[in-house]
Symmetry: none
Subunit: 252 residues, 2 copies
DNA sequence: AATTTAAAACTGGTCAGACCAGTTGGTTAT
DNA sequence: ATAACCAACTGGTCTGACCAGTTTTAAATT
């Protein structure tokens, strides 16, 4: 074991021992370096390791903080530690949609055959809000609707996985639906798709619900693809050299 | 995000997408530094992050290597509390399978339409090993086969999600397939299913591949359900730190 | 020639000091 | 009081050197 490992171990120990509580600030790299009698490079390497393990989060100019153990279901604030990794890759958006397609489909399927009366009530409520809002200017209702569906599936794993994917989604693109071209035809299509999903679930038709959900996601994906081919800037990709610190700021 | 993160993303993507296979050596730090146009310090920090996530292992004087799949990656450790919540609840197993069903299906689908010649080669290799081994006494070949499929899908997100699910799987039950009742009929069924998946992918028939994969997972799930109803002890929950191996040895 | 040995030539590990780039808070000028 | 500004934080990156294992190469010995 190198010194770097030892340091990360000691830091981790420090955190776990209660010396440092979640969201608490960690001493600066220079301080740690001096206090532990080691170069700053080592400290940085150790911190990166902890960062990789999701133990801490680091912010330029502010410092490093102990990661909160539980994401706390906040809106778009934080996502899984590992999730950040894929975000920013150009292809990631479509990779995500390919996975989401199936999962949303399965969620709708299960919802259709498992939704309780309370689920149906919540779903209806979410759907009404959705219908009353412009789906292209506000993504939240859309969010709520899909969330209601997956929760009605009564599969915690599914809920968890989709939540993770949705977080990644937000990191890859500002807001999937919101960025779509506000053409009237498209707006109408999306509403129609939502209604189709909703009705299928309420009617207790799993197969139909699945198909409707899959078609919906696929439609969104295709729309984005079209937009992109038209030169619209939907996807950010800071991969190569002159990356310009694009897009999503955690605190905003 | 800093350059350091970007580098680790790029490396990660490279590894997950099959550019670098497990146990394969990663270029030296100095090489990477020059090739990616950054300082060696950055490379080291990026590597430490991957190291923290268990993606790679580093040895003084030798180099860094892609970690073998086996070691308990802290991947979905983000769901730490979640894990503890889920594990122990028998239903979790089936929740997992419900999700996996779709994902494996999608993986097979994509593999069928995207697999390169190298993918096919790896898949074939994995399949041969699978056929030569008793699927009920050793879960590793099964693992390898499914892994080869999902990697051939060329969707890093899918790879990641399925890996996470698989980890949760291992926590819920020692070894899904391995614990099945070694009835001759079942053994034959499973082999047949594997072959069906394999052929569909090689033949480039996405729809058929998906169906085969879904049927396979569903079959396993049903088998477990049957077993459980017969009073067999299928579901275990080892999550505790101490008890190392009481009962079934994962044949490590 | 075959074998042993020693020396390059790798690899990662650590250090030092410098400079860039965000963030923050206090001081000053308005 | 408010705005503008500057100084002192914070992390981010670069450079080049040197130490410490490992492997390869070439010389020395048998």
């Amino acid at each position: 074991m190198g010194i770097s490992q030892e340091i990360s171990y000691r830091l981790e120990q420090l955190i776990l021992d209660g010396g440092l509580a979640p969201d608490q600030k960690i001493p600066s790299e220079r301080q740690l370096a001096e206090r532990m009698g080691v170069s700053r490079a080592i400290i940085r390497e150790a911190l990166h390791e902890l960062q990789g393990r999701g133990v801490i989060d680091t912010f330029h100019g502010k410092g490093s903080f102990v990661a909160s153990i539980v994401p706390a279901t906040r809106d778009l604030d934080e996502s899984g530690p590992l999730m950040h990794l894929f975000a920013g890759h150009p292809r990631t958006m479509y990779d995500l949609l390919e996975v989401r397609e199936q999962l949303e489909g399965q969620a709708a399927f299960l919802a259709a055959q498992r939704a309780t009366s309370m689920d149906r009530h919540r779903l209806t409520k979410a759907f009404r809000i959705l219908e009353e809002t412009d789906p292209l200017s506000n993504a939240k209702p859309d969010h709520g609707f899909h969330q209601a569906i997956v929760e009605a599936s009564h599969n915690p794993i599914l809920v968890h996985v989709l939540k993770g994917l949705k977080n990644m989604m937000l990191l890859s693109v500002q807001a999937s639906v919101a960025n779509l071209n506000p053409r009237e035809a498209m707006r109408h299509s999306i509403m129609k798709q939502h209604r189709r999903i909703y009705k299928a679930i309420l009617a207790g038709k799993p197969a139909a619900a699945r198909k409707a959900a899959i078609d919906h996601v696929r439609f969104v994906a295709d729309s984005m693809r079209d937009l992109e081919s038209q030169g619209a800037e939907v996807i950010r990709m800071p991969l190569d050299a002159k990356h310009s610190n694009s897009g999503v700021t955690p605190s905003a």
